[in-house]
């Protein structure tokens, strides 16, 4: 079961919009960290994902295990939120 979801985004990233659209369509809530507005959190996104890219979607389960999806990747995102 999903406890919460955080998406690291930027204002110009079209793929970030896709992740948000997908989660909205599935009726799943999320918190967004826009790195243009919070540039000091870039290192956090990099550290979590190991990548210099957005979107980074962090799905935290009720048992506090965490799944990190880098990019717009439905094959990983869909099972992660179920």
């Amino acid at each position: 079961m999903v406890k919460d979801i955080t998406i690291f985004t930027t204002g110009t990233c079209a793929y970030c919009g896709n992740v948000k659209t997908y989660l909205k369509a599935k009726g799943v809530g999320y918190k967004e960290v826009n790195l243009d507005l919070e540039p000091e959190r870039r290192a956090e996104a990099h550290q979590i994902s190991g990548a210099l890219t957005v979107p980074v979607t962090v799905v935290t389960k009720t048992d506090d295990s965490r799944e990190v999806i880098v990019g717009y990747n439905l094959a990983k995102l869909a099972p992660a939120i179920n």
């Binding site: 110009t12 793929y15 210099l52 957005v54 979107p55 439905l74």
Partner: protein
């Protein structure tokens, strides 16, 4: 077993060509389903600023244009499914599509899958993908504030994305194999950054390897026009070296492709498989312009309507009879 869903039209892709076509078809209450495996709006959506799409006197961001096209299509009833079409088979009246959501049937199909950026294929490109090597400046540029960058390519995309990246990077080396082939308007926009010393244009450069260490990319090894080895120190590399068609799912479908993998169509934008049409960047002969893609989408929609009404091929036969 549940019945396989049937639609009048399935559009593969949801870029400007398909979204424009969907505006036309749904406005006439033709049942239309779009499948998009990547980003809604296609490559247009990941372009920073679009200055040459008619109707926007001061330009428009790619993301805004894509969002507006999507909303307009959805206003008339278009349904966009986020998923991938993996195969297409012609069964006469219906085309059978394999998708990540299962099988569907369509009376007509519009292939509008567009293109993706080419890869260089040089060592390091795959190894450092998203960890120093990137193909989307609007997605990943923000990680390079006050860093040095290399942009590989010399066409419109390379120059446009370089201009975008100047808002973050301290310095950008453009590496072009021959010359800068971007439009004169873009070159003019780039010039002030060259004058400021923020961008250096390096011509006749052939990249050989993207190298780095555990911390990420730190240089690009290349040869210059004299064939001598040169090194460009950098924190990241953005690659924009042309486009490759997204037509792999059509292999085995019977739809004819050009040698480069683009879809061949006739004057009606119909492929050799009746009822399967193509529009936009995926089509052989496309101009790779957003305005052209939209125009082709509108044309395809009207031709598909004729096809669904049984008028398209009867017109062709009539033309054959009257032309000596």
């Amino acid at each position: 077993m549940s019945e396989i869903p049937k639609h009048d039209i399935v559009m593969v892709g949801a870029g400007p060509a398909a979204l424009t076509a969907a505006i036309y078809t749904t406005r006439e209450d033709i049942d239309t389903l779009l499948f998009e495996r990547g980003v809604i709006g296609g490559l247009a959506a990941v372009t920073d600023v679009i200055d040459n799409y008619p109707g926007f006197s001061t330009g428009i961001s790619g993301l805004e244009l894509a969002d507006s096209l999507r909303k307009q299509a959805e206003r008339f009833g278009a349904v966009i499914e986020l998923g991938e079409v993996t195969a297409l088979n012609d069964e006469g009246k219906y085309k059978r599509l394999q998708t990540t959501s299962g099988e569907i049937l369509a009376r007509a199909v519009l292939v509008a899958t567009g293109s993706d950026y080419n890869r260089t294929g040089i060592p390091g490109e795959q190894e450092y993908y998203a960890k120093g090597v990137h193909f989307c400046a609007t997605c990943d540029g923000a990680f390079y504030r006050d860093k040095r960058l290399v942009v590989i390519g010399g066409g419109n995309s390379a120059v446009q994305e370089t201009i975008f990246l100047t808002r973050y990077a301290s310095h950008i080396d453009i590496l072009a194999r021959s010359t800068i082939k971007a439009s004169s308007v873009l070159v003019k926009e780039l010039q002030p950054f060259i004058d400021q010393g923020k961008v250096s244009v390096n011509l006749g450069i052939k990249p050989l390897e993207i190298a780095g260490d555990a911390n990420g990319v730190n240089k690009v090894l290349a040869t210059n026009k004299e064939g001598k080895k040169v090194t460009f120190n950098t924190d990241g590399v953005f690659v924009f070296i042309g486009l490759k068609p997204n037509s792999d799912f059509l292999r085995g479908s019977g739809v004819k492709l050009s040698d480069l993998g683009f879809v061949l169509t006739d004057d009606n934008l119909e492929t050799n498989v009746p009822g399967v049409f193509a529009a936009g960047d995926i089509r052989s002969g496309a101009t790779m312009q957003i305005a052209s893609a939209s125009g082709e989408g509108a044309t395809a929609a009207l031709k598909i309507r004729e096809y669904l009404e049984g008028r398209l091929h009867s017109t062709k036969v009539h033309q054959l009879e009257v032309i000596p």
